[in-house]
Amino acid sequence: MDEKRHIISILVENEFGSLSRIAGLFSARGYNIHCLNVAPTNDESISRMTLVTFCNDQKIKQLAKQLDKLIDVVNVKDLTEETHIEREMLLLKLKCNKNQRDEIKRLTDIFRARIIDVTDTTYTIELTGATEKILAFIESMGKIKIIEMVRSGTLGISRGIDSLENIK
């Protein structure tokens, strides 16, 4: 069966060991984690994880059930099953000499990115967007030397009134 990209949103109790339980489940059952993001939610006792994994249909169903079975997991959803919005943030530190500055400025404008730090020899750029846009921007750097690249991993939210935080 074909492997597809899935964005899984997980609400977990903001407790000691929750993250390692989830990471442990992935490694013990042979699933990959392509990227992972964890941060508090509006309810401070709960954290939200968003992770991207590549799985076939049968495996993803099993994965969701296994996650749901963890005692710390409050709610799980495969966002890819419904209409949703994805964003990722990129921080890119570039080495640039004087004659590259215009080129970088131009690309930054095209992609609606922002220059957030400047030194004699570097530019640091911030970009938010869907993963494809992030990848396209990185690609567009061409010969410009990337000193450091930081990506937040994908964040996702469903469209409309739906909320993963609707829990009784």
Partner: protein
């Protein structure tokens, strides 16, 4: 009431109705042991190894259904429990493990006897807790018992730093009536329409089969299962873990299925058109090659654990919830459809099954000169009238016990089915004997397995546990040797047991009675003699046929209808 952390722990255990703690002391739990000292309500059973404590608590839980409780120290105390936890976790046994931890100020500093207990046990427990305050002890215990005993049961570990159990610091104690477990979901209950759909499908079968596993025993659903199966008149098979959940002596019972299952059970699985799976998880030892599993069957699966559904085999209809309730509802729902059952087709199906039965797949060559292992189990069955609690270790003896002891009641057959842990049998028998002091408890073992927890003979003496240890002594790691014979051209690498102890002397040095049996002619009388020693542990060392193999056998990658019934080869079709 002002209590210390240690006293709170004891109080919580009492509130949960705990009668026994299986454990072993050490620095990090000395405060708790001190609080336990002289307690009248809770009896502490001192095993001789923490692994023994875990298996004993496990055997207790499997025999009586109540959670087994373990108390061990930090570091090596808890690491010695890992095998026992994994064993219980694989077979979904409710247990509470309390482990001491170094004081909070030392956690993370590689202190003496510090081990990351929650980290190490995370994959082998249903859940675990590291207690971080005195105030939360009672709540954590309450949660732990709920998690261990509800839904799909399992072991829960509570790791508690030593400073929290200090007798000098006391706080107000109130036992929580309720705890918040928002992320722990109670089993859902299925809709009427889905149950009705299942009932209809069940009644439409021409070649039905019921396949029931350990979930029926854990869910205390054997009565409901029997009621349904009797009502519809369908054939039923049990997994290794399910033995006893349906009476083995009933005519609708086809025996165990799977790798060493009966011919009739496996053939019926392969040919059936509707399969009702209850509290079973399609383990690879049961399914054989999954691509050839029940090729023409519509499958209905009843289970308390949603993640068991379609994990290995995609099923057509799933009913998730308490097994007993679903079986009761299904039995009610099936009544109006009983008239739809195709009686003549069902009769033809039973005729086919009876034909398979004539193969007598469990028959074996009798001998007058050497004791056949199968005959030992048959004789035990006769002597105990099928009513003993039988634990086992892992190997050929385990399979023979499962095949030849006909369990009519649940909780009587206690073995490590999922993890296959050698060393489980003797300590598990201790737990069963403590749960039922008046019942006959037998540990069927092999000369290799018994040595893995042999130290527990001392525990048995201390608490006067009159277990009967029946060792099928074939001077081989028999199951390993059988695989080497079949798959490695008879190269018996390390499967030969050299320097086997004299078990009679060994038993007597531990203060027990040892009996050796070598001749088939004295098998029954000597076994009877051992069983008659009601208040003593008897170690019966039985010298059995060394190269006997377990049949039937489905080799890996083969289907249910490709069984080997004898050394001469496959036996698919009935002549």
């Amino acid at each position: 009431m002002k209590l210390s952390g240690s006293q709170i722990i004891i109080e919580c255990l009492k509130k949960e109705g705990v009668e026994f703690i299986f454990g072993y002391p050490g620095g990090a739990v000395l405060h708790i042991y001190d609080a336990l000292f002289g307690d009248k309500k809770i009896k502490h059973i001192l095993t001789r190894h923490e692994q023994g404590a875990t298996h004993a608590a496990d055997g207790y839980a499997r025999a009586c259904g109540k959670p087994g409780v373990v108390l061990v120290t930090s570091g090596p105390g808890i690491t010695n429990c890992v095998t026992g936890l994994a064993t219980a976790h694989m077979d979904s046994v409710p247990m509470i493990i309390i482990s001491g931890q170094v004081s909070r100020e030392y956690v993370g500093s590689d202190a003496f006897q510090e081990a990351d207990a929650t980290g190490i046990t995370r994959p082998v427990t249903k859940h675990n807790f590291l207690v971080d305050s005195r105030e939360s002890i009672a709540e954590v215990f309450k949660k732990a018992f709920i998690i261990a005993t509800t839904g799909r049961p399992g072991p829960v570990l509570i790791d508690i730093p030593k400073d929290l159990t200090d007798p000098k610091v006391k706080i107000n104690f109130e036992h929580p009536k309720k705890v918040k477990l928002r992320s722990y979901k109670a089993p859902i209950s299925e809709s009427k329409s889905k149950i009705d759909e299942a009932a209809k499908l069940l009644a439409s079968a021409k070649k039905p089969m019921v396949y029931a596993g350990g979930g029926v025993i854990l869910g205390n659903a054997h009565k409901e299962l029997a009621a349904l199966v009797k009502n519809i008149g369908y054939p039923i098979t049990n997994t290794l873990m399910g033995l006893g959940c349906y009476p083995a002596t009933d005519n609708q019972f086809l025996g165990m299925l799977g790798m060493h299952g009966t011919y009739e059970a496996n053939m019926a699985m392969h040919d059936c058109d509707v399969l009702l799976a209850v509290g079973a998880r399609f383990d690879d030892r049961v399914t054989g090659d999954t691509s050839k599993f029940c090729p023409s069957a519509k499958i209905i699966h009843i289970d308390v654990d949603p993640s068991s559904i379609s994990k290995i085999i995609e099923v057509d209809l799933s009913l998730v919830g308490e097994t007993s309730k679903i079986l009761r509802d299904l039995n009610k729902a099936v009544k109006p459809y009983l008239k739809n059952i195709n009686k003549s087709a069902l009769k033809r199906w039973w005729t086919q099954i009876d034909k398979w039965r004539t193969k007598k797949c469990l028959s074996y060559k009798k001998s007058k000169t050497i004791i056949k292992p199968q005959s030992v189990i048959e004789t035990l069955y006769e002597i105990t009238k099928g009513d003993a609690y039988v634990t086992s270790d892992v190997g050929q003896h385990q399979m023979w016990a499962a095949q030849y002891y006909k369990f009519d009641k649940p909780n009587r057959w206690i073995n490590s089915g999922g993890l296959g842990t050698m060393g489980f049998g003797l300590p598990a028998a201790m737990g069963a004997q403590l749960a039922y002091p008046k019942s006959e408890v037998i540990c069927v073992t092999g000369e290799a397995s018994i040595l893995m927890c042999i130290q527990e003979l001392a525990t048995c003496l201390q608490y006067r546990l009159p277990i009967k240890i029946i060792t099928l002594n074939n001077r081989y790691m028999g199951m390993v040797r059988q695989w080497q014979e079949f798959f490695y051209e008879g190269r018996y690498a390390m499967s030969y047991m050299e320097a086997i102890p004299d078990f009679v002397q060994l038993a007597s040095s531990f203060g027990h009675i040892g009996i050796k049996i070598e001749k088939p002619s004295e098998l029954k009388s000597k076994l009877q003699e051992a069983m008659n020693l009601k208040d003593r542990l008897v170690f019966v060392d039985i010298i059995t046929d060394q190269e006997e193999n377990v049949y039937p056998m489905i080799k890996s990658g083969q289907a249910h209808n490709e069984m080997h019934l004898s050394p001469t080869g496959k036996d698919t079709e009935l002549a």
